[in-house]
């Protein structure tokens, strides 16, 4: 009888601990734990318009649960800056939301200080696609994985999200 109770108690304790840690536990490695706080992501493109629009149109057509489009006065800014303090940086995104699960509103820019950014539309498109991946909750990756989120990618060749990226944002939703 006592043995049965002990098992029951142990089981319940195990259940409680599992529940506790599953809610506290960190997100999967490919996500940064954030996503837009609305289904529709309205953006304002202020510089390098062609590449930003190409990048978000591609994402929009591949994302099953979110829409992304331009609207004047929208709170999400896609632009360019000449950032001489970050010569190794192609692009940067800052989430303008103190809530730990939201990626919007955001401010993101392509760094025109780099000559490869100024000279190549492919590089700009690659950077724009990468930053939008962060909007949809993808995290930075390194190494040989074929992903627009890979910081080591060839930005001249890989300019849009890959099948892996598209599958992942559709899991995140």
């Amino acid at each position: 009888m006592w043995n049965f109770r002990l098992k029951k108690v142990s089981f319940m304790l195990l259940l409680i601990f599992t529940l506790f840690f599953s809610t506290v536990g960190s997100a999967d490695a490919y996500t940064n734990g954030r996503k837009p706080n609305t289904k529709n992501v309205e953006v304002q493109v202020q510089a390098y318009n062609t590449q930003w629009v190409q990048a978000y149109t591609n994402w929009d057509s591949n994302h099953k649960y979110r829409n992304i489009y331009s609207r004047s006065g929208a709170p999400n800014i896609m632009t360019a800056e000449y950032d001489s303090s970050r010569p190794g940086t192609f692009g940067r995104i800052i989430y303008n939301n103190g809530h730990s699960t939201y990626s919007t509103p955001f401010y993101t820019y392509i760094n025109s200080y780099r000559s490869d950014v100024r000279n190549s539309a492919n590089v700009r498109r690659s950077v724009a696609s990468h930053e939008i991946g962060h909007v949809f909750g993808l995290a930075d990756l390194r190494g040989s994985v074929s992903s627009i989120m890979n910081g080591d990618r060839n930005r001249e060749r890989l300019t849009y999200p890959t099948t892996l990226d598209i599958n992942r944002v559709n899991i995140i939703r």
């Binding site: 510089a47 970050r86 800052i94 930053e131 390194r142």
Partner: protein, 237 residues
């Protein structure tokens, strides 16, 4: 059985309490600052990325300015983004690459401003996060700097790559200035798993309570096994 119920109940309450604490102070904004960065692999990458490479020492502090400029015209400061750069004189003893005067002005990244928003995305104020490559220049030490023309003003140079500043100690030992170099990672740099991605949480608890998670790549130890003369030999090639 009653005893068990009491134990489980107490544990449950304790865990709920702990979880409430774990979720943190509700008023601390959780901000993120993330860069799409090129990872330098070798010292040669730093050399190739820089127009000007010089040895010398820092002189007097001149001024501060925004290192982020209008994307199409660097003479105009950015209206939306602010990274404070400190301008110092730099007295040159040796030029390895480029053509420069004997004294140049160098703008070094000091800190980046982040606009802080609360949980409802309402603006609450600004915080400054020190650059991972910042160290107050010491005129007593020698440096090798890897630079580019900023385009902001004439004779004003900035980092040609990250990292960009080798400090030469009196015993001729050398080290790049950075909090995020393998083997000399600052304590607050957290590496994600076995990847090369890492981050720092800049904790602000005064006027504007915020945790700013700055994400970046870890830089390999580019000077591993190299002496000052090895580096100078490479630079003179």
């Amino acid at each position: 059985m009653k005893k068990c119920t009491v134990i489980i109940g107490t544990l449950l309450m304790g865990l709920i309490f702990l979880q409430a604490c774990g979720s943190g102070d509700e008023t601390v904004s959780q901000m993120v600052d993330s860069s799409d960065e090129q990872r330098v692999e070798r010292l040669e990458d730093v050399i190739n990325d820089s127009e000007v490479i010089v040895k010398g020492h820092f002189g007097k502090y001149i001024d501060k300015d925004n290192m982020v400029r209008n994307y199409a015209n660097p003479e105009i400061p950015s209206e939306n983004t602010y990274t404070e750069g400190h301008i110092y004189e730099f007295h040159i003893e040796e030029v390895y690459k480029g053509e420069v005067d004997s004294t140049i002005n160098v703008m070094i990244p000091y800190a980046s401003e982040i606009k802080v928003y609360d949980e409802n995305a309402k603006y609450v104020g600004n915080v400054m996060n020190e650059s991972t490559e910042y160290k107050k220049p010491d005129p007593e030490e020698s440096n090798i700097l890897f630079l580019n023309q900023t385009g902001i003003k004439e004779n004003l140079y900035g980092p040609g790559s990250i990292p960009y500043n080798i400090v030469i100690d009196k015993d001729e030992s050398i080290e790049f200035v950075s909090k995020r170099i393998e083997g000399q990672l600052e304590d607050n740099v957290i590496v994600e798993g076995d990847s090369e991605q890492a981050y720092i949480i800049h904790e602000h608890r005064e006027d504007v309570p915020a945790d700013v998670r700055e994400e970046f790549v870890v830089i390999p130890d580019l000077l591993k096994g190299k002496t000052l003369s090895d580096v100078e030999e490479l630079l003179k090639k």
